[in-house]
Amino acid sequence: MGAEKRTASEKADFKRELTEVVPHLRAFARGLCGRADMADDLVQETLLKAWAAQERFQPGTSMRAWTFVILRNAYLTDMRRNRFRGEYDETVAERVLTAPAGQEEPIHLSDMHRALLTLPPERREALLLVGAGGFSYEEAANICGCAVGTIKSRVGRARSALNTMLAEGSIPKRSIDDDTAHRAILEELDDVAAGQGVAARS
C-alpha cells in the first residue's frame, strides 16, 4: 500500500503528531488496564508499532484515532497473554482521583474507577472512547472495528451498569481477580477481537 519511503519532512510531521497524542494514549491505556506502569508499557509498545507502521498512516487523518487502534490491538494481545487483569492500583487511584478541594463529591472517584474496571472490556473501552476521550460514536466504531449501533449499545450498557453500581453502592469488590470473572472477560475478548481494528487495516 503506497509503500513509498517517507521524506524526512513527512517523518518529522509524523513524529510531531505522534508526540502530541502521547498524553491521550496514556489516558486511554490507563483507563483500559487500570495500572499506571502497565499502561505506560502499553503506550511505549504502541509508539514503537506506530513508528514502524508510519507509512500506513494517511496524513491529514486523525493520529489519535489511528494510534488508539494500535494501542487497543496491543492491549487485546497482551490481555490474552494474561498480562493485564484490569488490576486496580490503589495508590494511583488515590493520587489521580482526589477531588478538587471544596468540591462536592457525592461519589468517591476511586469507587468509580473500580466500577469502571469491573465492566467487560468492550464496554469499558466504548465508554472510555465516547465518555472520556470525546470521540463520536462513529469514530469509536471505527476504532473498535464494529458497527455504530454496537458502540451505542455498549456505551448504553456501560452507563447503566455504572449507574446501578454507583447508585446502589454495589461495586463487586474482587470480581476482577476472580477466576470465573477473568474467564468471562477472556471470552468476551474473543468477541471484541473478532472485529478488531478496521481502521488499522485500511
Binding site: E20, R26, A27, G31, M112, A115, L128, A132, S136, L166
Partner: protein, 60 residues
C-alpha cells in the same frame, strides 16, 4: 498541545449530544470519568517517553 487536524476534536464530551434528555443522562460519575481521563492527559510526560521519542529517528 493543539492539533491542526480538522478531524481531531478537542476532548469534547460526547455526553453533550445526549444531554438533551436532561440531567438524568449525565450522572455524577460522568464528570469523574472525564476527569480521570483528563488528569492523565495533563500529567507531565515521564522521561522514559521523551527518551523513546528521541530515539525513534534512529529506528528505521
Amino acid at each position: 498541545m493543539t492539533s491542526e487536524q480538522p478531524s481531531e476534536k478537542r476532548p469534547q464530551p460526547a455526553v453533550s449530544k445526549e444531554a438533551k434528555g436532561g440531567a438524568r443522562d449525565r450522572p455524577d460519575w460522568a464528570n469523574g470519568l472525564k476527569r480521570l481521563y483528563d488528569s492523565v492527559v495533563e500529567e507531565d510526560l515521564p522521561d522514559s517517553f521523551k527518551d523513546l521519542l528521541s530515539q525513534l529517528d534512529t529506528k528505521d
